[in-house]
């Protein structure tokens, strides 16, 4: 295999992980900010590394915005930035104990919400205080779902992806 090319099994695994990320978000879209996205993106960052996690996340953001938002840059850009920062947090905390990862998920959730506030403030000339006040409930909900999902599912999900990686991707060497 030449450097920089994906193996078939790796590409398949990345496609499956992207599909899981997108489908869970679509299924849960009727419940505001209750999601597994923070958990999944942190696990992807920890297990796949930054470049591959970014690839999965970028495909997810594009799909999400093509289907739900007509690729509106005011939604797509803060979403991409928010998830990118979460990938960095997830990668930086990958070897730390679970409580630190849970704290990272809360921080990432807040930063994700603030990215939308920042873009709306810069480009839509909104009243930032009114926006943040109205958004607090949604930030709390996102943090709550991040805490519960990361606390219970981070280690099993990490183990599962590592297992698939070593069983199928590394075996293809």
């Amino acid at each position: 295999m030449r450097k920089g090319r994906f193996k078939t099994s790796e590409l398949t695994l990345l496609a499956m992980l992207t599909a899981i990320l997108f489908v869970q978000e679509t299924l849960l879209s009727s419940i505001p900010n209750i999601q597994f996205s923070v958990l999944l993106i942190m696990v992807y960052a920890a297990t796949l590394g930054i470049p591959k996690a970014m690839l999965v996340m970028t495909v997810h953001v594009l799909l999400d915005n093509i289907i739900w938002g007509s690729l509106n840059p005011l939604t797509a850009c803060p979403m991409w930035l928010g998830w990118f920062i979460l990938i960095l947090i997830g990668f930086a905390l990958r070897k730390t104990p679970l409580p630190a990862i849970v704290a990272g998920s809360v921080l990432g959730s807040i930063i994700y919400c603030l990215c939308f506030a920042l873009f709306n403030y810069l480009f839509m000339d909104i009243n930032i205080i009114a926006y943040l006040t109205a958004d607090i409930i949604f930030e709390i909900l996102m943090c709550c779902s991040s805490v519960v999902t990361v606390m219970f599912l981070y280690r099993p999900a990490e183990k599962l992806i590592n297992m698939y990686y070593s069983k199928y991707v590394n075996k293809e060497e």
Binding site: I126, I137, L141, C144, F152
Partner: protein, 131 residues
């Protein structure tokens, strides 16, 4: 191991309680009702600037949506984000090329119709606006 699980479950229960409380608070703030009765002015402004104005009275427990439905022919949709106003009397929008912007006492409202509280003496303007 067992102790860790108990701690995790306790934290999860606390977090779920916070989430439920947040949802309840959100639901309550979504439909604020008037504490006392009073009167307001409602103004409809079309794209070409034609303005129609009405003085409307409301009672305790009323919402802005209630008085609009009682006094105008309203075309709307109930969405997960609240009441989506698509048309009011002569002003009809498709929400793609035009929409109805709400101004309260001349200031653009950052809240949806369902979240706006009726306040004595206020002016609510519904302006047909290009996207």
């Amino acid at each position: 191991m067992r102790k860790q699980l108990i701690i995790k479950i306790a934290i999860a229960a606390l977090v779920v309680a916070i989430a439920v409380a947040s949802i309840i608070i959100y639901k309550k703030t979504q439909n604020p009702v008037a504490d006392v009765g009073g009167g307001v002015t409602v103004e409809l402004v079309s794209l070409d600037g034609e303005t129609q104005s009405k003085q409307l009275d409301f009672e305790e427990g009323d919402t802005l949506v209630d008085i609009l439905l009682d006094n105008y022919e309203v075309n709307y949709e109930e969405t997960e984000y609240g009441f989506l106003l698509l048309g009011i009397d002569g002003i009809q929008t498709d929400f793609t090329s035009t929409y109805i912007a709400v101004y309260i006492n001349g200031e653009y409202s950052n809240y949806g119709l369902s979240s706006i509280l009726l306040e004595e003496g206020s002016l609510y303007s519904f302006r047909e606006t290009k996207v």
